[in-house]
């Protein structure tokens, strides 16, 4: 299964495909099944079920034994046999967790405008750093100066990012500030 070749074509095909489902609800990494079938009324009411793409696709029902070497399998309606009640409970929990997010403002010295990021999408400091670098690289300037990432915590104090465990950081961080220039270098001397 090579996703590279013809994937753009697949996208175009996908766009014209008639299917029940919330826009953008299917995961990008799953390929199209060989025959897509739509079911109009089998799934629980759409307003409850968030996972529409699962309900919308059906395995071709020849019932033959599939080889275990089949790399990809289209999702099948009602398998594994878990009641919608249970599925929806977990999806609802995940959805509220996802929707909530932990958005904080990020300011950089000298940048004309601020950004906002969701701390919950990052697994740890490394990812955060990389994301911030990426976000602000247009403002780096030719100087390529040192910078320090700081944050303002619950008590309003300016703290250096990286000292405390990640979870503690995300629960206490109110906003981020990227400090550049001489100030930053001085402060960083001992820690980094």
């Amino acid at each position: 299964m090579d996703g590279g070749v013809g994937y753009a074509d697949m996208d175009a095909l996908k766009a014209t495909e008639l299917r029940l489902g919330l826009p953008g609800s299917d995961p990008p990494e799953k390929p199209l099944p060989t025959t897509t079938t739509t079911t109009a009324t089998t799934a629980r009411p759409t307003k409850r079920s968030l996972d529409e793409d699962r309900a919308a696709r059906r395995e071709p029902s020849e019932g033959g034994r599939a080889t275990s070497t089949r790399a990809t399998k289209a999702q099948v309606v009602g398998w594994p046999p878990i009641r919608s009640y249970r599925k929806n409970s977990f999806q609802a929990m995940k959805a509220t967790a996802e929707a909530a997010g932990l958005y904080v403002k990020v300011s950089m010295d000298g940048a004309p405008y601020l950004r906002k990021i969701d701390l919950e999408v990052y697994a740890g400091y490394k990812e955060l750093r990389e994301a911030l670098e990426d976000m602000f690289k247009c403002f780096e300037g030719c100087k390529g100066s040192e910078y320090a990432i700081t944050y303002e915590d619950k008590d309003g104090d300016l703290m250096l990012v990286g000292d405390v465990p990640w979870e503690m950081f995300t629960s206490s961080c109110k906003k981020l500030r990227i400090i550049r220039g001489a100030e930053a270098i001085r402060g960083l001397g001992s820690s980094q």
Binding site: T37, T38, T39, A40, T41, T42, A43, R44, P45, K47, R48, R54, A55, E59, S61, E62, G63, G64, R65, A66, T67, S68, K73, Q75, V76, V77, G78, W79, P80, P81, I82, R83, S84, Y85, R86, K87, S89, F90, M93, S171, S172
Partner: protein
Amino acid sequence: MSEERSDMSEDEDGGGGVEQKERWGPSQGGGGCGSAKSRGGVWTDPPPPFSDQVLENVLENVLQFLVCRRDRNAASLVCRSWCRAEAQTRGELFIGNCYAVSPRRATDRFRRVRSVVLKGKPRFADFSLVPLGWGAHFSPWASAMAAAYPWLERICLKRMSIADDDLSLLAFSFPFFKDLTLICCDGFGTHGLAVIAEKCRHLRVLDLIEAYLEEEEEDQVVDWVSKFPQTTTSLETLGFDCVVSTVNFEALEALVARSPALRQLRVNHHVTVDQLFRLMVRAPQLTHLGTGSFGPPAALALQGDVMEHEADLVSAFAASKSIISLSGFRDVASQYLPAIYPVCANLTTLNCSFAEITADELKPVIHHCHNLQKFWVLDTVRDEGLQAVAATCKDLQELRVFPLNATEDSEGFVSDVGLAAISQGCRRLRSILYFCQQMTNKAVITMSKNCQELVVFRLCIMGRHLPDHLTKEPMDEGFGAIVMNCKKLTRLAVSGLLTDKAFAYIGKYGKSIRTLSVAFAGDSDVGLRYVLEGCPKLQKLEIRDSPFGDPALLSGIHQYYNMRFLWMNSCKLSIRGCNDVAQRLPRLVVEVIRDRPEADDETVEKLYMYRSLAGPRNDAPPFVKIL
């Protein structure tokens, strides 16, 4: 979870229903006690002579003591007067398939019923395999019962579609109504609940188990909890853990305070841990508690300040000396879990199957639960957690391990290791439901030898067609061992890579099996044939995505009148084969369900067939074709 009855599982009882236990043929009158073929099931027999009447009265007094419906069915077959006497004394009416008999016929025969149990949709409806609007409407039954049973006290429904109006009808028709239990039902909302709460002054039980309430806008949600009578109530059980909307907590607290008989309380996930504490303080006599969220109120959670309520909670549990069953734990903050330690030693039931807890979080809890009989858990506890269960819970009778990620390519957290451990430690196990991704024949064989009390064995290897992950062989030998060694087995669900050999085993050894669930299994028609020819006690057969076709279907002709139903979807059936069966068995209702209107007419996507005295139903939607 409440006691066994509320699950309405027939796995461990004698089975049987209104229909006769004996071989059921079209020549027999079926439900009508051998009386002359009467229209609409109304009695046309002349009244018996005086001496017979005396005998009948005596008989009635004796038959009062028969409780089990299987015994009653047998008694009713002896002769006409026994049939009449039994009909007059049957207090609980059990209808396993709401379409097997018309409401009128049932109420005409059994005149003095106080309690009705009614089941509707086939079980595969739980997995979105039965399209919406298929049927199982409660309305006709509600109307018939309202007319016939003014003394009705109890109604228990499973997989029925109930409208708010039906609930209103109940509330207004039955002045002595005490007990409403709804399992996996849908169609009603808070308005219906409000009418029940308000009008049923003697209500003892209102238990909603995995019900799907209609979605309501904020301003449509009715504050049903406030509608209970303001005086002391007779409530013993209140379960609403599946209700999605918030309830008025002040009203709930006040209700609990004025319900001294309350023993079972299951709240929904909107009830936070501090609110739970307040309820527990009001009701220290509780035996069954559904804890709701078991997490802190949202405001506190954001501040990371979760420790606040812990001490309160521990004292509440310490004071609740009667608790034997716990469930809920919807958003459990693991810091609160230790609060339940004071009651663990008394627990017979623990359902934490909505809590994503790890083995380390489970161990200290389960370590105290020596008396546990029923345990439902998520696979996040892994094999290690199950080993801890096996080490402590020697009296365990029922285990259910649910998957956190219910997708077939998810990473499974439990495996054959956990299953083997359980079989080593829990020798008295009677019922198991186990979801996993990796299994071996060896572990299943071990369980078959260690757990001789097994009545229900349901193993779901989530990846389709997965073989024994060590030997790469099919799972035939494992399931074969189960049917061979577990002599009390009445319910079996199979999965994994299975050939016709597995079915040969089931047909040869599964002589007590009543319920069989098959998915993605078998090689040919022979597989299904083995089962239909070999399992005389088979009542309920549900099959999906297996290569069984018309010849296999036809091989079961001798059996279908003895069964409650057969469900097959995505197999190899054609309309010709189904027509064939329908013609040969006139008392069988053969429903062909079509999801997609454009599908070709020859293949049958979904088949649902069941014996019925009522004939083809008149409420079938357009996508159902009755042959």
